[in-house]
């Protein structure tokens, strides 16, 4: 069965520091992978998506993620965090053909001054 694991429930990072959020997926076949963000009191918004191709994908607001088939991972990165990045980040997996999107448990990012 497909699943997504986000091992870090909460991450605290200083403003201006770099950020990496981990995501491991379990999927039989070719996965389509997504990162969504949920800002306080807002709905889920897409940060970036991966379809088979270039393993490094660029997203909005300076985020990027790298797909690794050998590690079954899709980690999210940002070079310099801003206070506005304080949010919950969700990794998710689906497939070609349109199976339902399955989410990880999320990682809460707190930004300290």
């Amino acid at each position: 069965a497909q699943s997504v694991t986000q091992p870090d429930a909460r991450v605290t990072v200083s403003e201006g520091a770099s950020l990496q959020l981990r995501c491991k997926y379990s999927y039989f076949g070719t996965p389509y992978l997504f990162w969504y963000v949920q800002y306080p009191r807002q709905g889920l918004q897409l940060l970036l998506k991966y379809y088979p191709g270039d393993p490094v994908v660029q997203g909005v607001n300076g985020f990027e993620a790298e797909f690794s088939k050998s590690n079954s991972s899709f980690h999210l990165r940002k070079a310099s965090v801003h206070w506005s990045d304080w949010a919950v980040y969700f990794c998710a997996v689906s497939s070609q053909g349109g199976r339902a999107l399955i989410f990880g448990t999320g990682t809460t990012v707190s930004v300290s001054p």
């Binding site: 969504y36 709905g43 889920l44 379809y51 349109g98 999107l101 989410f103 999320g106």
Partner: protein, 115 residues
């Protein structure tokens, strides 16, 4: 361009009452999804329609929960005999080209509180 619209934004019901939640997908989107979000369980998939036809309801509790999509402009999620454990934020999402290069667009959710 309006996003996914969910109503009501907040609903409070008593135990045993019925709750109906509404979703209006983005115009032209053929796929509609329902999810449930709680602190404990996170984001749980419930059910999904494509071109109004039910495709996958594997996440739906077999009793008391039902979903319909009578036309391309709205979907409903009905919970009969609500229980306190049904308290959650119910999210609706739609997509134009799901399964190819599409993405899900989420509404802001309907927060259900069962007393």
């Amino acid at each position: 361009n309006a996003g996914v619209i969910q109503t009501p934004r907040h609903k409070v019901t008593g135990k045993g009452q019925e709750a109906t939640l509404w979703c209006e997908p983005i115009s032209g989107h053929s796929a509609v999804f329902w999810y449930r979000q709680t602190i404990v369980q996170g984001l749980e998939f419930l059910t999904y329609f494509r071109n109004q036809a039910p495709i996958d309801d594997s996440g739906m509790p077999k009793e008391r929960f039902s979903a319909q999509m009578p036309n391309q402009s709205h979907s409903t999620l009905k919970i009969q005999s609500t229980q306190p454990q049904d308290s959650a934020v119910y999210l609706c999402a739609s997509s134009r080209d799901w399964g190819n290069t599409g993405q899900l667009y989420f509404g802001e959710g309907s927060k259900l509180t069962v007393l």
